[in-house]
């Protein structure tokens, strides 16, 4: 796990490309600490952060590092509010403040288990960099991604060999990605599941894996003010009682730490 510098870094945007309903923001970061898959950064546009709807955004926003390549960090963005809107506007040459990499990323599959990556919506982001690493290591794995429609499903092109499900049936399996997962676990119970996506999807993954006794690592989201454990704002309830901070105890947590992921759904901000 890489440690972040206490100093947020002012980095230059090298590109911002539309991929279906998403954008991929590329930031030049040749000297930054290399992020582990599943880690995230807190991003703030260097200019005009604020002044959107309701005079927001004010605080930085959390984004998974989606890829790290050729001295650039990639972030996958979905415009759901004033912060993501502003970041979606950035173009090559603009600058962003980056604090990170933060949090705990994915851990390798337990001995004898094969990685099964399950993503929903913009939650495919950390799976991309994780797949990159699995491919580098030549580790066998399966990948299945769910999207609401065909435009969003174009995001699947950012990864390799994904099986795709769409809610509206416009591409791949018509239905939920967890249905694909169910079949997959049927076929190969010696899996270790890596999931990131909207809370209902994560909850479905969690309870499915629990029922089948398959270990799962869930990349959680939660409204964050700081990203480094300072505000105690990003908590989710744990099975043992009490709360964990998603930013420092996660975002990737073992599924069996949680009773349910549904409890988190009310938390802002937390896009589909």
């Amino acid at each position: 796990m890489s440690l972040a510098s206490l100093e947020r870094r002012r980095l230059t945007v090298t590109g911002n490309d539309g991929v279906g309903a998403y954008r991929v923001l590329r930031v030049s970061d040749p000297h930054g600490p290399p992020p582990s898959p599943g880690q995230f950064s807190m991003l703030t546009a260097a200019e005009r952060w604020g002044g959107g709807v309701d005079e927001r955004p004010h605080l930085p926003r959390a984004f998974s590092v989606a890829r790290c390549k050729d001295g650039e960090a990639h972030y996958l963005l979905e415009d759901v509010g004033p912060g993501t809107r502003r970041l979606c506007e950035l173009r090559a040459g603009d600058e962003v403040w980056v604090l990170g990499p933060l949090g705990r990323g994915f851990r390798r599959p337990r001995e004898g288990r094969r990685a099964v990556l399950v993503g929903g919506g913009v939650g495919i982001a950390p799976l991309a960099i994780w797949q990159d690493e699995l491919l580098d290591r030549g580790a066998p794995h399966a990948l299945m991604l769910g999207f609401r429609d065909g435009d969003h499903a174009l995001g699947a092109n950012l990864l390799r060999c994904a099986r795709v499900a769409t809610d509206d049936g416009s591409l791949g399996h018509p239905g939920l990605v967890t249905e694909l997962l169910e079949t997959e676990l049927e076929d190969d119970p010696r899996a270790e599941v890596y999931a990131c996506g909207p809370p209902p999807m994560l909850e479905a993954v969690r309870s499915l894996c629990e029922r089948r006794g398959v270990p799962a690592q869930l990349a959680l989201e939660s409204g964050m003010a700081c990203g480094f454990g300072a505000c105690f704002g990003c908590v989710v309830p744990t099975r043992r009682g009490g709360y964990l901070r998603v930013c420092v105890d996660g975002p990737v947590v073992d599924a069996d730490l949680l009773d349910s992921v549904a409890a988190i759904t009310t938390g802002p901000p937390c896009p589909a």
Binding site: L3, A4, S5, L6, E7, R8, T44, G50, D54, E55, R56, P57, H58, L59, P60, W97, L99, L102, S222, G223, M224, A225, C226, F228, G229, A230, C231, F232, G233, C234, V235, V236, P237, G241, G242, Y243, R245, V248, A263, I264, T265, T266, G267, P268, C270
Partner: protein, 298 residues
């Protein structure tokens, strides 16, 4: 502007953290040795510690407001015993003096906290939170001069360490409350804590849920700065105690204005969430522009 005397402590600069807005122990995990090497504050104020452990409020705990933040964290902490056993040794390793912030809902609780914390050599000063709007203490002890006076009369004799009273801004006349603190032997006051605030009901889930798990919360950040400046100036006009001024400090400008209004130290809270080195940035800026400052003063 370099060294500052505050309650018998000599601090490297006048910028500290607001209680509950920087977890030095978590930060050490996140940033490693960088944390100690570039520690942004000249003293470290702990999160509010209560007698018994608290899990804090149910999420959601944060709501971004116009130029600010509403939080309903609910003072999660390990309780006095856990703090003394687990946290204090770690915090003692920080390169700056340690101020421990405590809160209790009765005088007896506060006395127990102040005594236990005050007798520890690692602790340089005790800050008494009489103002947290997120927690149902029944009464907001600091909201009224008489009840604060009564509390301090009981508590003050129980520690020889400097006692800083963190006032609540949710009061009719904060200067009167500060005067009561001064009369009852407080060594300093700090303000402002968050303004009592409410986030709208959230319509994200199927049922209309409150935007904050706890319904109400406290407002901080730039939005509250004009209120902080007014309250610090009002208190400075009334009492002779040193003041820790805070509330919406984002940069040098606000820090300097609070100091000019009568604060001895300034504290940074919400801005640290945006920039963990905000405290150091502001301290450096205060140091660098004394000339500018004189120029503006005539």
């Amino acid at each position: 502007m370099s060294r500052v005397e505050f309650c018998g402590l000599t601090l490297a600069h006048p910028v500290i953290n607001g209680s509950g807005t920087f977890d030095a122990i978590a930060a050490r995990r996140v940033f490693g040795s960088d944390l100690d090497e570039r520690f942004p504050f000249s003293a470290y104020v702990s999160k509010t510690i209560t007698l018994r452990p608290r899990a804090g409020n149910p999420p959601p705990r944060l709501w971004e407001a116009s130029a600010g933040l509403i939080n309903s964290i609910g003072l999660p902490n390990k309780g006095l015993r856990g703090y003394l056993a687990d946290d204090l040794p770690e915090l003692a390793r920080l390169p700056v003096p340690l101020i421990t912030n405590v809160m209790g809902s009765t005088a007896a609780e506060v006395i127990a906290l102040v005594e236990a914390v005050g007798e520890r050599a690692e602790v340089s000063a005790v800050e008494l939170n009489v103002s947290c709007p997120n927690v149902e203490t029944g009464l907001d002890l600091g909201a009224d001069p008489a009840s604060l006076a009564a509390l301090l009369r009981e508590v003050r004799p129980h520690t020889a360490k400097p006692l800083i009273v963190k006032l609540t801004p949710n009061t009719a006349d904060v200067a009167l409350v500060a005067a009561a603190a001064e009369a009852e032997g407080a060594d300093a006051v700090s303000l402002i804590n968050t303004l009592r605030a409410r986030a709208p009901a959230s319509h994200r889930s199927h049922r209309a849920a409150p935007g904050l798990g706890a319904g109400t919360g406290g407002l901080s950040g730039p939005a509250v700065y004009p209120v902080a400046l007014a309250q610090v100036a009002a208190v400075a006009g009334r009492v002779g105690l040193p003041i820790v001024g805070m509330g919406g400090v984002r940069g040098e400008r606000q820090a300097r204005e609070l100091l000019e209004a009568g604060a001895t130290l300034v504290a940074v809270g919400t801005e640290t969430f945006r920039d963990p080195l905000a405290g150091a940035r502001i301290a450096a800026a205060l140091r660098e522009t004394p000339a500018n400052r004189e120029q503006r003063a005539f």
